[in-house]
C-alpha cells in the first residue's frame, strides 16, 4: 500500500526529489523446523508484500500488533536481513542488492536503534567504544576525540558521561536503550530506524529524547522510521502512520487522519484500547497546582 | 643363582621391547632372533651353548654328525645327518630338507637374512630359489643323510656358515608366501604354540625332538612365553621388582639409568654381564675434505676422548674404551693401541701437532651422522667435546633411526663421519675386517665400507688371508691387519660394549653369549624351581 500523501510534505514541493526510502513488495518468509534439524518444515510469512515510503524530513510510524512483522520490516529496511522478495530504494538508488561502497554509503545514511537494548550492545565493549564504533567502522574521524565525543553524546540522551567506561551490563534497561539511540545518532544519518526506541524510558526522559529527535529532524533533516506501541508517542512524533497486522500494512496515512478517522477495524481497536488516566485526577491535580500556573511544574533540567 | 643348573619344567618369561623381525630363519638375521631360532630350529652345525666354562663361540655339530668334511682345498663340504631327526609334525628330517632350506636363501622374497650361503655356495647367476627356479645343482644329496655343498672358492670357515640360521631344514615345498613368519615348522626342542605379532609368542615342547640327538640344547623348561612391545624402563622395573611371574623372567639390556640401582646384594646376584663382541666406532670418510689427509685422521684418533664416549653409553658397566678395531672377543686379536693415551682420554697435544703439520692448526668443521637415539646422540656430543679440544668443530647431523643405515650406506649421502658399530657374524676377523675395509665392495647403496677406504695393499692382504687354510693362522693375520689398517686411521674405534641384564630370581642356567650380542643363551636357560 502506498497510502495517500497528505498536504504537509507531499512530493509536490519542487525542491523535493522524491522519497528517501521506498519499499516495494517487501516480503520475508521464515522457514522453521519443529523439534530439531530433522523436524517438520513450516514456512511462516512474517512480512507480506509490504509497500511504503519514507520522505526526507519525515517520520513514518509503524504501529501494529505484537508479532505483526514490524521488527522484521525494520531489519529488511536496514539491510540486516535478505528479503525473500521485493525491492528497496534509498535516495533514488536501488539498494536491494547493494554491496561494497554502495552498501557502505547506505550504512552511513541509515542507522538503527534496536528493540532489545542489551542484546544489541556488545557485552565486551565499554560505552565509549560502543558510541564511537560507528565512526570508527566507517573510517570517519572522531570529532573532538573519543572521550569528548562520547561524553557529549551521552549527555544528549541524558546519561552521565562519567559512566563512559562502564560496560552495558552495568546500566539499567532505559539507560541501555539510550546508549542504543546515542549510537544511532553518532554518524548523523539521513534515516534512523527506531524499533521501540523509547519504550523503556520514563516519560520525562522519553520526552527529552523525543525532543532531541524532533530537533535533529528540524535541524539536520533526519527521517525516521519509528516503530512504537505507545500511540501517544506515535501521534506526537509522526507525520504519517502505517498500521501493520499479521505481516500486512492494513492502513496508512497522515497521522492526524489515522488518529482521528481510523478506517480499519484493527486501527480502531488499537485506539480504543489505549489506557487512559482518569481525567478527574488530572483535573484535580491541575487545580491543586493553581489555576493557570503551570510554572510549578519544574522543568527536567531543574530537577537534575 | 642364575648360573646354577636349572631344573626341568616351568615356563620362562621373556620381556622384550620390539617383536622379532622374522620367524623365518631365511629372513631373520640379528643377535636377538638368532638366539631364539635355536629353540625351534636346528642347523647343520651350531655354536656350543654358553656356560660357566664356555663362551658359546665354538662351532659344534648339530643336525650333522660332525662340523663338516672339507675337500678340494675347502671348496667342497660334506655333512652327514644324525639318525632319528624329526620335524614337529613327526616326519623325518632328510638331506633334501636341509638342501631345500638352504636353497631358500636365493629366493628374492625370503632370502633377506644371512648372506653367507649365497656368498659362498656356487650357484648359477640367475638362480632364484626353490619356489621359482627349482633345485640347485651345487648342493647334492646323494642319500637321505648326506648333503654336499660346492663352494665358489676355498672357504675354511664353512662350518661357521653352516651354523647360520638359513641352514635350517624345512620339508620340501613349504614356506611359500612367508608362511614361516606365521607358522614355522620346528625342528628344535620347542614349537610355536601361538603367536600374536607385536604382543606375545608362546613356545611349547616339540614332542618329536629327541634329547639324545642334541648335545647343545638342554631344553629344561616346558615352554617359553615372550611378551613384546614393552617399554625399556618398564622392563627394568618389572625385572627388579620381580612380582608374580616376573621371577621367572629375563629381559634385554638394562638402561644406563638402571645401572646405579643394581648395587644391592640381591640385585647384584641377579645381574649378568656379557660381552657383545661389537665395536662402536666413528667412520671417517677418507674421500672428504681435510679427511683425505691421513694426518688429519690420525689427529682425530688422538683427539677423541674415548672415556667420555664410554660414559655416554652408560659408564664402565656397559662399555670399555676401544684400542683396536677388533673387540677382545675375537680370536687372534692384537690389542696394541696405535694411538695410545692415558685411559683412552686422548692426546690433544699429539693431535694438535699432527693437525699443524697437515695445515689445519686452526681446525675445521666435521659433520658427523648420528642415529636419532639418545645414546648415539650422547656419544656424538662426547666426540664433539673431545674434538673441540683441538679446534675441530663437530656438527652433529641427526638422522631418523629408520633410515640411518641407508643414508650412511649411500656414499653420495653420507657426510664426513658416521657413528655406528659392527658385530661379527662369528668370532674371527673374516666377518669383521673385510666387510669394513675392502674398498672393492664399495657400492652406491647399502655400502658397508663407510670410510670409503680403497687401499690396494690392504685389499691384497685381505685376499691373502682369505686364502689361508688354517683358521687360527688366519685370525692371527687379521689381528695384524687390524693394526695396519689403524695406521691409515679410516675409523676411530670408540668402545667395546657390554650387555648387562637382570634376570628373575627363579632363573637358572643363564649365561651370556658373545654369539648373541651378549644376550643370555636361551638353549641352556631354565628355572631353579619350576613350581614357583
Amino acid at each position: 500500500m502506498t497510502g495517500g500523501r497528505d498536504s504537509h510534505g507531499g512530493p509536490g514541493g519542487p525542491a523535493h526529489p522524491g522519497p528517501l526510502l521506498r519499499a516495494r513488495h517487501l516480503t520475508k518468509r521464515f522457514t522453521t523446523r519443529a523439534g530439531g534439524p530433522l523436524g517438520r518444515k513450516s514456512v511462516f510469512t512474517a512480512v507480506d508484500s509490504v509497500d511504503f515510503e519514507v520522505f526526507p524530513h519525515e517520520t513514518l510510524a509503524l504501529v501494529g500488533e505484537s508479532g505483526s512483522g514490524k521488527s522484521t520490516t525494520a531489519r529488511l529496511v536496514a539491510k540486516l536481513m535478505k528479503p525473500t522478495d521485493g525491492t528497496l530504494e534509498f535516495a533514488g538508488r536501488d539498494v536491494t542488492h547493494a554491496r561494497g561502497p554502495d552498501l557502505a554509503r547506505f550504512r552511513n545514511e541509515v542507522q538503527v536503534v534496536f528493540q532489545d537494548p542489551f542484546s544489541s550492545l556488545n557485552p565486551r565493549h565499554t560505552v565509549a567504544r560502543i558510541l564511537t564504533a560507528p565512526l570508527v567502522y566507517q573510517g570517519l574521524p572522531v570529532p573532538g576525540g573519543r572521550r569528548a565525543f562520547a561524553g557529549e553524546l551521552m549527555e544528549r540522551v541524558g546519561l552521565d558521561p562519567d559512566h563512559m567506561h562502564r560496560y552495558p551490563a552495568q546500566f539499567s534497561g532505559g539507560q541501555a536503550q539510550r546508549i542504543g539511540i546515542a549510537r544511532a545518532l553518532a554518524v548523523g544519518p539521513k534515516l534512523v530506524i527506531c524499533d521501540e526506541a523509547v519504550s523503556a524510558l520514563d516519560v520525562s526522559v522519553q520526552a527529552q529524547v523525543m525532543d532531541l529527535l524532533v530537533r535533529l529532524q528540524r535541524e539536520s533533516g533526519f527521517s525516521y522510521l519509528f516503530i512504537a506501541h505507545d500511540l501517544a508517542v506515535v501521534r506526537r512524533i509522526s507525520h504519517r502512520v502505517a498500521v501493520m497486522k499479521q505481516g500486512v500494512i492494513v492502513e496508512s496515512g497522515p497521522s492526524a487522519e489515522i488518529f482521528e478517522r481510523p478506517r480499519d477495524p484493527y486501527t480502531r481497536a488499537l485506539l480504543a484500547a489505549i489506557p487512559r488516566i482518569d481525567p478527574e485526577w488530572d483535573r484535580r491535580r491541575r487545580e491543586g497546582a493553581g489555576p493557570g500556573n503551570t510554572s510549578t511544574t519544574p522543568s527536567y533540567e531543574e530537577l537534575r | 643363582s642364575p648360573g646354577a643348573e636349572p631344573a626341568t619344567g616351568g615356563i620362562v618369561q621373556v620381556l622384550e621391547k620390539p617383536d622379532f623381525s622374522h620367524l623365518d630363519p631365511a629372513r631373520g638375521f640379528d643377535g636377538g632372533v638368532n638366539n631364539f631360532y635355536r629353540l625351534i630350529y636346528r642347523t647343520l652345525t651350531t655354536r656350543a651353548a654358553a656356560g660357566p666354562h664356555s663362551s658359546g663361540t665354538k662351532i659344534v655339530a648339530d643336525l650333522a654328525t660332525d662340523t663338516g668334511r672339507p675337500s678340494d682345498n675347502n671348496k667342497t663340504w660334506a655333512f652327514t645327518l644324525k639318525k632319528g631327526l624329526f620335524f614337529e609334525n613327526g616326519s623325518p628330517i632328510t638331506s633334501r630338507d636341509v638342501k631345500f632350506g638352504v636353497e631358500r636363501a636365493w629366493d628374492p622374497d625370503a632370502g633377506i637374512g644371512s648372506p653367507y650361503a649365497k656368498q659362498v655356495i656356487a650357484a648359477p647367476a640367475d638362480y632364484q630359489g626353490p619356489y621359482r627356479s627349482g633345485d640347485l645343482d651345487t648342493i647334492e644329496t646323494p642319500d637321505d643323510r648326506t648333503v654336499v655343498f660346492h663352494l665358489k672358492r676355498s672357504y675354511p670357515q664353512f662350518a661357521s656358515v653352516a651354523a647360520q640360521p638359513n641352514f635350517t631344514p624345512f620339508p620340501k615345498g613349504t614356506g611359500a608366501k612367508a608362511a614361516f613368519d606365521r607358522e614355522p615348522i620346528a625342528s628344535g626342542p620347542y614349537r610355536v604354540a601361538s603367536y600374536r605379532r607385536g604382543s606375545a609368542l608362546k613356545l611349547v615342547r616339540n614332542k618329536h625332538w629327541k634329547r639324545s640327538s642334541d648335545p647343545v640344547r638342554t631344553a629344561r623348561p616346558d615352554g617359553f612365553v615372550w611378551t613384546f612391545g614393552l617399554d625399556a624402563a618398564t622392563i627394568d622395573e618389572r625385572l627388579i621388582s620381580g612380582q608374580g611371574k616376573d621371577i621367572n623372567a629375563i629381559g634385554p639390556k638394562v638402561q644406563p639409568a638402571t645401572i646405579s640401582r643394581l648395587r644391592t646384594p640381591q640385585l647384584k646376584q641377579r645381574t649378568l654381564t656379557g660381552v657383545t663382541g661389537c665395536t662402536t666406532y666413528m667412520s671417517l670418510n677418507t674421500t672428504k675434505g681435510p679427511l683425505r689427509d691421513v694426518r688429519v685422521r690420525q689427529a682425530i684418533e688422538y683427539a677423541v676422548n674415548k672415556q667420555t664416549t664410554v660414559d655416554a653409553l652408560g659408564g664402565s658397566a656397559l662399555a670399555t674404551a676401544a684400542t683396536s678395531i677388533e673387540p677382545p672377543s675375537i680370536p687372534g686379536r692384537d690389542a696394541t693401541d696405535v694411538y695410545p693415551s692415558k685411559d683412552g682420554t686422548g692426546d690433544p697435544a699429539a693431535a694438535r701437532r699432527l693437525l699443524a703439520r697437515a695445515g689445519f692448526a686452526k681446525g675445521f668443521t666435521l659433520t658427523v651422522d648420528t642415529r636419532a637415539a639418545a645414546t648415539e646422540q650422547a656419544v656424538a656430543v662426547a666426540i664433539q667435546q673431545g674434538l673441540k679440544r683441538v679446534g675441530i668443530t663437530v656438527k652433529i647431523n641427526t638422522i631418523d633411526t629408520s633410515t640411518f643405515y641407508e643414508v650412511i650406506g649411500t656414499p653420495s649421502q653420507q657426510h664426513d663421519a658416521a657413528l655406528t658399530g659392527w658385530c661379527p657374524d662369528w668370532p674371527g676377523g673374516t666377518t669383521f675386517l673385510p666387510p669394513l675395509f675392502d674398498g672393492r665392495t664399495i657400492s652406491a647403496k647399502g655400502n658397508s665400507v663407510l670410510s670409503m677406504l680403497d687401499d690396494k695393499k690392504i685389499q691384497k692382504r685381505i685376499d691373502e688371508i682369505a686364502a689361508m687354510r688354517d683358521e687360527t693362522a688366519q685370525n692371527a693375520a687379521y689381528g695384524k691387519l687390524d693394526a695396519q689398517i689403524m695406521k691409515l686411521a679410516p675409523i676411530v674405534p670408540l668402545n667395546y660394549t657390554k650387555n648387562v641384564v637382570v634376570v628373575g630370581s627363579n632363573i637358572a642356567g643363564a649365561h651370556p653369549s658373545i654369539s648373541y650380542s651378549g644376550g643370555i643363551d636361551l638353549v641352556g636357560i631354565g628355572l631353579a624351581d619350576p613350581k614357583k
Binding site: - | H22, D109, Y131, A176, K177, Q243, T403, S448
Partner: protein
C-alpha cells in the same frame, strides 16, 4: 539436512583420497628406500633391486598409488608364481617388516586402541567437566585456585613421566595394580580393568586438565549471562541450573574439541600405548615409523584420518543440533 550430510560424507572421501596421495608422496617418494633397510647390513645393489621389484617399488608412482587405491576398494595380488598372494579388499598391503597383512594388523590392534581411547575419554570428560564446572561456579575461591593449579600441573607433566611415576607408585611400591597388559575383557574383567586403569588415567590427565580449564572459562562466561538470572528466578535447583542452563552453552565449544580429540585417539595413543606396552594402533604406528614400514604407516595414517574426518562431520552435526541459533546462520 540429508543433502548436507551427504555432501559432507562426499568430502570425507575426497579428503581421505588427498591424505592418501599426500602420505604416499611423503613416505614413498621423499623418504629413503625401504628396500635398503630390509636388505640388512651386508647388502648388494642387485639384492636391493630384487627387493624393490618384489615390493613393487620399481613401478611408476601413479601406478603404485593406483594399485594401492584399487587394493583398498577391490583387493589386489602380490608377488608372482608360487609366491602369489591374493589380498582381499580392503587391502592395505603387507608390512615390509613382518609380511603380515596390514588390515589384519589393524583389526588386531584397533580394539586395544579403542579400549584405551574410550576409557580415557570417559575419565577425562567426567573429571574435566566436573572440576571445570565446580571451579567455574566457585570462581575465585581456594577450591578454584587449587583445582586450576592442579590442572596446570597436570598439563605440564609429560605423559611419559606421569606414566612411569604412576607405575612406580601403584605397581612397584604399593602393589595395588598389576603391570599394564592388553588383557582381553572376556578373559578376566577384573584384570582387564586393573591393567587398563593406568593407561586410561595417564591419557586422561592431560585432556582432563584442558577440559577443566575450558569448561571453567565457559561456565564463568555463561554464568554472567542474563538467562542464568532467569533460571535462578525460576527457583530451579543449582544442579539443574548448572546441568541444563550453564552446561549446554558452556559445553558446545567443548563438543568440538572432544570430537577432534577422541577421533584423534582412535588412531592410536602413541605415547601411552608405547609406555605401557599396549599393542594398539599407536604402538603399531611408532614401531612402523621406527622401521620405516610404509604400508603400516600408510594404514595408520588413513585410519586416523578416517576417524578424524568422520569425527569432524559428527561434531559439526552435533554443533548445529546443540546450538539452535547456529542453524539459521549456517544455512
Amino acid at each position: 539436512m540429508l543433502r548436507y550430510v551427504a555432501g559432507r560424507l562426499a568430502w570425507v572421501l575426497v579428503i581421505l583420497l588427498a591424505v592418501c596421495v599426500f602420505t604416499y608422496v611423503i613416505f614413498f617418494q621423499l623418504s629413503p628406500d625401504p628396500a635398503v633397510m630390509i636388505c640388512g647390513k651386508t647388502c648388494t645393489q642387485e639384492r636391493i633391486e630384487t627387493i624393490r621389484t618384489s615390493l613393487g617399488l620399481d613401478r611408476p608412482f601413479f601406478q603404485q598409488l593406483g594399485d594401492f587405491l584399487r587394493g583398498i576398494v577391490a583387493g589386489r595380488d602380490y608377488g608372482a608364481g608360487a609366491n602369489l598372494v591374493h589380498c582381499p579388499a580392503p587391502c592395505l598391503g603387507y608390512s615390509f617388516q613382518s609380511g603380515q597383512s596390514v588390515w589384519e594388523m589393524v583389526q588386531q590392534r584397533l580394539p586395544v586402541s579403542v579400549t584405551v581411547a574410550v576409557g580415557a575419554a570417559v575419565l577425562w570428560l567426567l573429571f574435566g567437566i566436573l572440576f571445570g564446572l565446580l571451579s567455574g561456579v566457585k570462581e575465585g575461591t581456594w577450591w578454584d585456585r587449587a583445582t586450576m593449579a592442579l590442572a596446570l600441573g597436570g598439563s605440564s607433566i609429560p605423559p611419559y613421566v606421569l606414566a612411569l611415576a604412576l607405575q612406580y607408585l601403584l605397581v612397584v611400591k604399593l602393589r595395588v595394580l598389576p603391570f599394564p597388559a592388553a588383557v582381553p575383557f572376556a578373559e578376566d574383567p577384573a584384570v582387564w580393568f586393573q591393567s587398563y586403569l593406568m593407561p586410561w588415567t595417564v591419557l586422561a590427565v592431560g585432556y582432563a586438565c584442558l577440559y577443566a580449564r575450558l569448561t571453567r572459562a565457559n561456565v564463568i562466561d555463561t554464568l554472567a549471562e542474563n538467562f542464568m538470572r532467569t533460571a535462578r528466578a525460576k527457583g530451579l535447583g543449582p544442579v539443574l541450573i548448572l546441568r541444563r542452563h550453564a552446561l549446554r552453552p558452556a559445553l558446545t565449544p567443548i563438543v568440538t574439541i572432544f570430537g577432534m580429540d577422541f577421533a584423534g585417539l582412535l588412531g592410536g595413543a602413541l605415547i601411552t600405548e608405547t609406555v605401557f606396552g599396549l599393542n594398539g594402533v599407536g604402538k603399531m604406528a611408532s614401531d612402523a615409523i621406527a622401521k620405516n614400514d610404509q604400508p603400516v604407516i600408510m594404514a595408520v595414517t588413513l585410519l586416523a584420518a578416517f576417524f578424524v574426518v568422520v569425527g569432524n562431520v559428527v561434531v559439526d552435526l552435533l554443533y548445529t543440533a546443540l546450538d539452535p541459533r547456529v542453524r539459521i546462520t549456517a544455512s
